[in-house]
Symmetry: C3
Subunit: 365 residues, 3 copies
């Protein structure tokens, strides 16, 4: 159950992540950032008693010069005795990620920006524009008429290498297969109250505009925090949208997908412009990530699956995301080799595709 040497040495492109926190965390904050819960549950005990919690103690402790499986208290004490910048650099460097694509549109003020993250990690970094965030920013000052033009222009002049939709959080993934008319979007924007964009017409229009601008388009799918209604985040609800956008030839990337990763695999197989990953689920599952990665790869062509960490706030999560991904990919390939399913040279090629080559092709890096 070690990692195959060629997988251990793979350079990774992390095509979906966020920034790291600028400051130290209290124990309570640290625990709740490990998972998708808003806070620790007094009824349910410490989040260190979870797959990710044990992974921190097992894998992160040694990077802070503690023994494997150091206790949670020891770990946090040592972590807080170091400068957060040092802690962050240590885990980022150890991840083996050479390129970060950063969604900077969530809690930007608390987190390092894309360039800051890249600089700290000694890696390349690029921005992913979060569509709803940009729309909310612009609509604060623009009239509905101005908004449409300004949004379009900002997308086209952006240095971002891709866009991200959080339709899952706002309206679910059952977007219409019909492109909204400009008239309907205008009406929706005129009727809109301040705050989060929640109109399905607007959410859908943002996604179409990103594709028009030629930006590879990421969708949050499945597993997330308590704001989502999970059954409305089944990727197969996106089918009409995917069918309608296939001819544009712009990549669409389904993020996370757990527990709908098999549904995502189906969509990725049958639609030429669809790609997927396991995102958040990789570090979230800790020592159990191998089974779920194997499931996710059941029917997906290997040229269409990507690595991402979805790491957010805690630098440990980039490291664990990359490490758990390597272990799971290694288990997948080792099992295939043991079953004589493919040659060693094929295993190397599959590994390179998934680790970075697919991302480089999709995002034109």
């Amino acid at each position: 159950m070690g990692i195959l040497p060629f997988v251990a040495e793979l350079g990774l492109i992390d095509h979906h992540c966020h920034g790291v926190l600028r400051v130290d965390s209290t124990r309570e904050e640290f625990e709740s950032l490990l998972l998708e819960a808003d806070s620790v549950s007094p009824l349910g005990g410490s989040f260190f008693d979870s797959a990710i919690g044990f992974a921190v103690r097992r894998w992160c402790a040694p990077l802070l010069d503690l023994p494997r499986h150091a206790s949670a208290d020891e770990y946090l004490e040592r972590r807080n005795s170091l400068h957060i910048t040092e802690v962050s650099r240590t885990f980022l460097m150890a991840s083996g990620i050479h390129t970060f694509l950063v969604d900077g549109g969530f809690q930007a003020e608390r987190l390092l920006s894309a360039p800051e993250l890249g600089s700290l990690a000694g890696a390349d970094s690029h921005e992913i524009v979060r569509l709803e965030h940009l729309a909310e920013e612009l609509s604060g000052t623009a009239t509905a008429n101005e908004f449409l033009d300004q949004f379009r222009q900002r997308l086209r002049s952006s240095s971002a290498v891709g866009a991200k939709s959080i339709a899952a959080y706002r309206v679910g993934l059952a977007l219409s297969g019909e492109r909204p008319t400009e008239r309907d979007v205008l009406a929706a924007m005129q009727a809109r109250s301040p705050g989060p964009v929640k109109d399905p017409v607007v959410i859908s229009w943002l996604a179409w505009e990103a594709l028009d601008a030629g930006l590879p388009l990421q969708f949050h799918v499945g597993y997330g925090d308590s704001d989502i209604d999970l059954h409305r985040c089944d990727p197969s609800l996106l089918t009409p949208f995917l069918r309608a956008t296939a001819s544009l030839g712009v990549p669409i990337l389904l993020l996370h997908n757990y527990p709908f990763h098999r549904q995502a695999g189906y969509l990725t197989q049958v639609f030429p412009h669809v790609f997927c990953d396991l995102g958040l689920a990789t570090h979230g599952l800790g020592h159990q990530a191998s089974r779920v990665l194997a499931e996710a790869l059941e029917i997906v062509p290997y040229g269409k699956f990507l690595f991402s960490s979805d790491a957010f706030a805690l630098p440990e999560l980039y490291y664990l995301g990359a490490l758990m991904f390597r272990r799971a990919l290694s288990d997948f390939l080792a099992d295939g080799l043991r079953r004589d399913a493919f040659l060693e040279e094929d295993a190397h090629r599959i590994a390179r595709l998934i680790a970075s080559e697919n991302a480089a092709r999709v995002y034109k890096l």
Copy 2:
């Protein structure tokens, strides 16, 4: 693939089960009670040719002094040659369950009550009040106005340690996130015909009342008999209800969950008052229970997962539920230890949490 010694010796709290039959069973009845089918299918062969059927022959036969894998005929012949009380005591004692929480609201006349079950097993027992059953009992004699008061009072004066909702069977799990008004409940009760309660307003009100009374609230979720529409029993349909009730701080327990155990895991992680188990699926899967338990534990904090057998009518099911659970938990922990995911002392703590400590905390036993 043996059981780790510390798992074999764990005392269990079975937080969801029913009573055992007072009398012997014919072969046909025995077969149909092994599974969730109403009856054996002449088209499809004997239910002994199933995971649970083989588990009876393998594991239960030796407790009746038969060789492992005795034939179905031999097994039933021996079983019927003994007194049912003796058979029941044998399997209950062998289960290692020291506390039973019994839903006595289904086919009560055929089954041992909670105190009778505890007494036969030499174990503690407590009642779980089945909300719809209580409502149907009271509404037979009370006016709509009286019903609301009487129901409330019965819950508050009950010695039950928890309540159970079978919304899944009656209206599905898409309960509203809004608490029903007393006026709407009254109107629904006035309009109601005799028989099972099927009004979503009433079903929802029963659940809110249980939480108000401070009773930990169980929901049947997923896998059950042919009365359910499985897609309406996806636990993520409960999201609005869970969101609305989180601040009450009263535990909600998602039972069974198969094949939605990953969805249940998500809800258990993100909502502080939510807990889950694998119930029925443990014995139902026989020798394959390990994979599904591992899946169920992917993202669940270990302080929020419980053991239950959902055993009903056949004493074999308590024993097999406990045994298959031990084997699956042992496989999960052994795999984690082999991967160096946690220390042996952590494995012991996880085992104790899941076997009994979480249940003791949730139900204040």
Copy 3:
């Protein structure tokens, strides 16, 4: 990870497949026929980089006298140097399938018919009538009134051993639990435009008529090409229809089911007339088929699960469907034997049931 000898030698009934192509394929056509995609994606690379692609190189190459893992180019060059009839005979004979049940209602002109397929393979073959195809054929010339009679008569005089519904592709699986009245069917047929039948009343009527004619009725479920909306192909949506038809005692067979194979298992367990298979998913998953077959068999009585290849067009798919199925079944049984879940003689019986005896019983072969 070899195949248990008694599984390797099992004669198979393939209860759901199509014909093979009459002519050679270009590389592009070959690749797209390996999967459910309409075409290869320039963005996503070759479909030879997939589970099924690697399985062709590993397992099919040696049957064309090439080394294991021959390259895709070598493989296709050799394949095209042989006569397609020779290639087809080789793979069909190697599959060990002795009886084919052929859905001849899709792209009939390009493919061998059921008798041609049987003759080439030296095997028995029977037809499955595709309900929507027959309806579309008849409704081209008949009035609405004539249509009902003619359809009924064709079903009753047919030599087919079963019928197949593609409701999943046309309206999804949420068929009503009420039998449509003849009057409603007439109205729907009168209102109908030429082309595919898409009216849920008509689709449902076709299914009821097949059952009335005593024909075992197959439903496409789950995984298919890009025409389906996967979430509308969850078999649990069929529950009201299954409940309504249980008393007829005519078998209903859920095909493929991936990724809803656990839902299909539930329905198969609780409804006496329901059976299921893993169809398309067996060869589609290549070396990973074992885990999914094990999942599919979790709660299904072994007298209710069947083998099918869903092979279409490429003769390699019959061979790989059968081979991957044998490997997966062997892994399942070997695991059960290793865990002492059942005796060797039980394993033999389970294998025979699934390989052919269940199909022979259901279709009265």
